[in-house]
Symmetry: C2
Subunit: 319 residues, 2 copies
């Protein structure tokens, strides 16, 4: 039996093992999941969540690590969630990439967590927000969510962030890749990393063009900045932090931050509710009611739609 309140207390005192344990509980849909979430709820809402996304090889881990250093210098507690939707492995999956993170391994103000399981709702996109809540409740001021892998899952996970950073690097055909993955629609801040390489200016120009940054915008609209960095030498990293702060200030000023968080919470509730309802129906598989309805369809006594109505009525009147 897990003592959840004690574990939460320990996590808030800054014990990394307690934080890790809580994340494992929510990630693995432990029986304690609901108790954990209920206990965490009043302690959340303080962390600012920054998503980092981009194709493999653009330097996400290096950039994340440099951002951690910058935030630590400013006295912030930082959580890092590294998500790899393409990996079937949990925990150790990102070890190669995590080597750079070892700079921070002994820093008690930094939590680093890799996530590669699919989560209890069948998608990382729904396991990640629970892990973010743990890091939030544990007192992190900033949570950096770094997504390895590409495509839809990446976009979904990025949508969990308050501010999304899209990373590119010169000469990787990133423009096209970005457009394909739809990540051009999700960036609040763009970073062209490895800016000491040939083609960095061209990449920035192409991006500028694709984003339509040259066009006029309505006053008050957010204009995503493009920051050039050499993360391996920490060049430009302060400018990224500055861009993040600006975006945060803009969001707060325009009521966008709370609107984003509400929309995110609503989607999350919806997914959990649908899953719960689906499970209620799933519980009926092999149940006489569903079997009987199926039999009546086969013999033509009813049709699937009327049968579904009956099933739903049965469920919604106490199951």
């Amino acid at each position: 039996m897990v003592d959840v309140p004690q574990l939460v207390e320990q996590a808030r005192e800054g014990r990394p093992r307690a934080v890790a344990r809580l994340i494992s509980l929510v990630e693995g849909a432990a029986p304690e999941l609901r108790e954990v979430m209920a206990t965490l709820a009043p302690l959340t809402g303080n962390a600012y969540v920054v998503g980092l996304t981009g194709s493999p090889g653009v330097g996400k881990s290096t950039t994340t690590s440099a951002l951690v250093t910058a935030y630590r210098k400013a006295g912030k507690r930082v959580g890092v969630l590294a998500v790899d939707p393409s990996s079937p492995f949990s925990g150790g999956a990102l070890l190669g990439d995590r080597v750079r993170m070892s700079d921070h391994a002994s820093d008690p103000g930094v939590y680093i967590r890799s996530m590669a399981t699919r989560g209890h709702l069948g998608g990382l996109a729904w396991a990640a927000p629970q892990a973010i809540r743990v890091l939030d409740a544990a007192g992190c001021d900033i949570v950096l969510v770094e997504t390895v892998g590409v495509g839809q899952s990446e976009v979904e996970i990025a949508s969990q962030a308050d501010t999304s950073v899209v990373l590119l690097a010169p000469g990787m055909g990133d423009g096209i890749q970005a457009a394909k993955a739809g990540i051009l629609e999700i960036g609040d801040v763009y970073v062209v990393n490895k800016a000491d390489r040939d083609g960095a200016d061209a990449t920035a120009r192409e991006l500028n063009h694709m984003l339509g940054l040259g066009e006029s915008r309505a006053p008050g609209d957010w204009r995503p900045p493009i920051v050039k960095t050499v993360a391996a030498r920490s060049e430009g990293v302060d400018e990224v932090v500055e861009a993040l702060e600006k975006h945060r200030a803009w969001m707060e000023e325009h009521g966008v931050l709370s609107a984003r968080r509400r929309a995110r919470a609503a989607r999350e509730v919806e997914t959990i509710a649908v899953t719960a309802l689906r499970e209620r129906i799933g519980d009926l598989s092999g149940d006489r009611r569903l079997d009987a309805l199926a039999e009546r369809i086969v013999v033509g006594e009813t049709d699937p739609y009327r049968a579904a109505d009956e099933l739903v009525e049965g469920l919604t009147n106490g199951g």
Copy 2:
């Protein structure tokens, strides 16, 4: 306003336009969908559904056409549903492939329908059974469901059939493709088409090996036959029909046919029920209740799981 009973009556009299209209209604989730399904229900259950699946180029259309000819000779009324999950277009999408079907275009005992829309439940797998019911109620003895495209949708659609035929052709690396797509698990009858080509025997042997047909089976188990055909010359087609009849007889004898149909109906009811519940939740988007719950999560007053409980309770107590 559509006069559904009249339309159904006309379909049963053999008017192709009425059949086509009914399929359009169920495919497009017309307001009349429920009335159509309710009216059709007592008229269904007579048609035998044969699914044909396989990689592009194995000769599915030619085989389907040859089977239509064979069944017509035996005096059966035949429906053909050609499904292309990969196509964003409806109706005309399969025109190229359908040319061979023009042999049957003037035969009043044959209905041919292409289906490429995604259906009202977001998947062809759920639009197809409704169209099959229309063809069934219209008096078809046999409904051939031919799926173009590959992968999961194909397997799903094949699962709508009473008997599934998996087609292969020599020299196409079909063995590997088949294994990848999981279609080796769904075949009740295997056809190696284009058997006049080099490598037909090797393909059949490989298939025999992969299916473990050399191994002993429990008495009464179905052993999928492998039939070699040259569909373009109608060679071997009678043997396919014979294999289908044998499988049908085996399924009836062992109670498998009704079990399959019940399982199929149960899955269908489940999907419709989940969709209905999801729509009820969807109706709440922008609704004050979901918004209020989301706001309470953001400020830490509740967590997503308790909020989902509240939402579900709200829905299940009359919405």
